[in-house]
């Protein structure tokens, strides 16, 4: 039982990272109908940003500072991924609005370019990011069930991000504009909203969220140029299961995939577990093609 609880806990913690990446993907897809295959690479970019911040701290700052590098790494990952996302939107994405298939191919090409770029800069082998000392160790629930601090920290970090996203989307002027553009682009523009600018900022924001997800992943293992490809399938699954364009759906989808993955892997084995989850998601989508939460939006129906 304890092993199972620990597995579930770990599963939710990992899937909370997907949730973050998936939210970025869901927002950009909901807004622009762009299927961004390069989204995973922004996870990778965020991870390397954390790696660079770590190197900077260990080389240039007194050793006593090292324990705090992670607090600098989080915003650095967000900013680097966000800025690169913004550039990608300006250079490529904005020429692809409304062309889902073209956007699929073009962003796939972009993802390969970004991977190659990472290989050229950081080398092909994986690199390690050393976690700060205070994250090593575990919270003792009772002998037999210890929750690793790293995983707890990741969950807290994701919850904090969710709260920020919620306020941004539902309590700020900017969020109101994004939702207006999502629900009815033509009407939003007719009310004076510069929809193109909203698109660019939102794309950058979604990429930044993927960056934070990448930063969190550095706590769980070594990172490499193909980090993003390992996670993009799960991320897409979360988005599709949750219902495209729905934030609550994305959160629910993340939980379901996380617990489902671990439960089935626990009952069977890693490979079979993945296959089963994948099959279940496909069956579910046969029954509800629009996912768990559908938003009734004319712009999405078109």
């Amino acid at each position: 039982m304890d092993t199972y609880l620990l597995q579930i806990f770990n599963g939710i913690s990992v899937s909370s990272i997907f949730m973050l990446a998936a939210l970025g993907l869901a927002i950009t897809f909901g807004l622009m109908k762009i299927i961004n295959m390069a989204h995973g690479e922004f996870i990778m970019i965020g991870a390397y940003a954390a790696y660079m911040v770590q190197n900077f701290f260990s080389q240039y700052l007194p050793a006593s500072f090292f324990n705090f590098y992670f607090f600098a790494a989080i915003p650095a990952s967000f900013l680097l991924a966000g800025v690169l996302g913004w550039i990608l939107e300006r250079l490529v994405i904005r020429h692809l609005y409304g062309r889902s298939l073209d956007s699929l191919l073009a962003t796939w090409g972009v993802s390969l370019i970004l991977q190659q770029l990472a290989r050229s800069i950081f080398g092909a082998p994986n690199v390690d990011v050393k976690s700060p000392d205070w994250l090593n160790g575990a919270f003792l629930v009772h002998p037999g069930l210890q929750l690793p601090y790293k995983r707890l920290f990741i969950m807290l970090m994701v919850i904090a991000c969710m709260v920020v996203i919620y306020y941004l989307m539902y309590r700020s002027n900017y969020g109101r504009k994004i939702r207006a553009v999502m629900q009815n682009r033509a009407m939003a523009a007719s009310l004076g909203i510069n929809t193109r600018r909203i698109d660019a900022y939102t794309f950058a924001f979604g990429s930044g969220l993927a960056g934070i997800a990448g930063c969190a992943l550095t706590l769980l293992g070594s990172i490499g140029p193909t980090l993003g490809t390992n996670y993009i399938v799960d991320t897409f699954m979360v988005v599709v299961l949750g219902g495209v364009g729905s934030l609550w759906g994305t959160i629910a989808g993340g939980f379901l995939i996380g617990t489902g993955n671990t439960t089935l892997e626990f009952l069977t084995d890693a490979t079979l577990g993945k296959v089963l989850v994948f099959t279940l998601v496909i069956l579910f989508l046969q029954w509800r093609p629009k996912g768990l939460f559908t938003i009734h939006s004319r712009s999405l129906d078109e």
Partner: protein, 232 residues
């Protein structure tokens, strides 16, 4: 008197099919101008071309003597054009209050919703926290007009405000338009319901198959002739 809107030789297309062939239309400051015509002749397309929502490869749209034809939609809204589309286009997932606040976006979201809006549409005040999508058709229409008025547009475009709405609310909307006229608003209103505009509008235009086929002052209008031109 200043000409607020001056449309000249305007053409509009959906894809490759031409919808508006050669439209000339003027709206003077403080006037209420009505555009009449059968279903499918291009009235809504005309309002959309003023907003920049359809392709208009040739012609001119002067708004307060400034050319708008190549400007993006949001720029036109910010220049002072308020638009109430035929389908109302309320944001269904947002509350009434949020819908109204979006009306302030022409000023980057600055400013407040003036109490006058709730005096014109008392029903909205009671519904501020309801989702736009849960309102009745008539309430959505009032919300759409209110949303356009929040920023005090220099020109208000109304597309069939009486369509599919119960008679009592049609009367309310008629009263609101007369009130706006008293306050000096300039309005271009698309209608098929002739009686509704008779005591509201100053001038009329009749559109057929993408062209203007009649125009004049409502006071000297030959009602039977116009009726035959817009009857189905």
């Amino acid at each position: 008197m200043e000409t607020v809107l001056n449309v000249d030789k305007l053409q509009a297309y959906y894809g490759e099919s031409i919808i508006l062939k050669d439209i000339n239309l003027k709206v003077q400051e403080g006037h209420i101008v009505c555009l009449l015509g059968r279903n499918g002749v291009g009235k809504s397309t005309f309002l959309k071309s003023i907003m920049g929502l359809v392709r208009t490869p040739s012609g001119s749209i002067l708004f307060q003597n400034k050319e708008l034809i190549n400007k993006p939609t949001y720029f036109r809204a910010r220049a002072g054009i308020g638009y109430v589309p035929q389908g109302r286009d309320i944001f269904p997932q947002m509350t009434v209050e949020e819908n109204l606040q979006l009306g302030l976006e022409v000023n980057n979201g600055n400013g407040n919703i003036s109490p006058e809006i709730y005096e014109l549409f008392p029903i909205l005040k009671e519904m501020l926290t309801r989702k736009g999508g849960n309102l009745s058709g008539g309430q959505q229409q009032q919300l759409a007009i209110a949303r356009a008025l929040v920023a005090h547009p220099k020109l208000l475009l109304l597309d069939e405000p009486t369509e599919g709405i119960q008679p009592s609310i049609i009367q309310d909307i008629g009263r609101v338009i007369l009130q706006l006229k008293k306050e000096g608003y300039t309005i271009l209103i698309v209608e098929q319901y002739l009686e509704f505009i008779l005591n509201i509008a100053d001038e009329y235009y009749v559109m057929d198959k993408g062209n203007i086929v009649a125009q004049g002052l409502v006071s000297s209008m030959d009602q039977e002739d116009i009726k035959s031109k817009i009857a189905i």
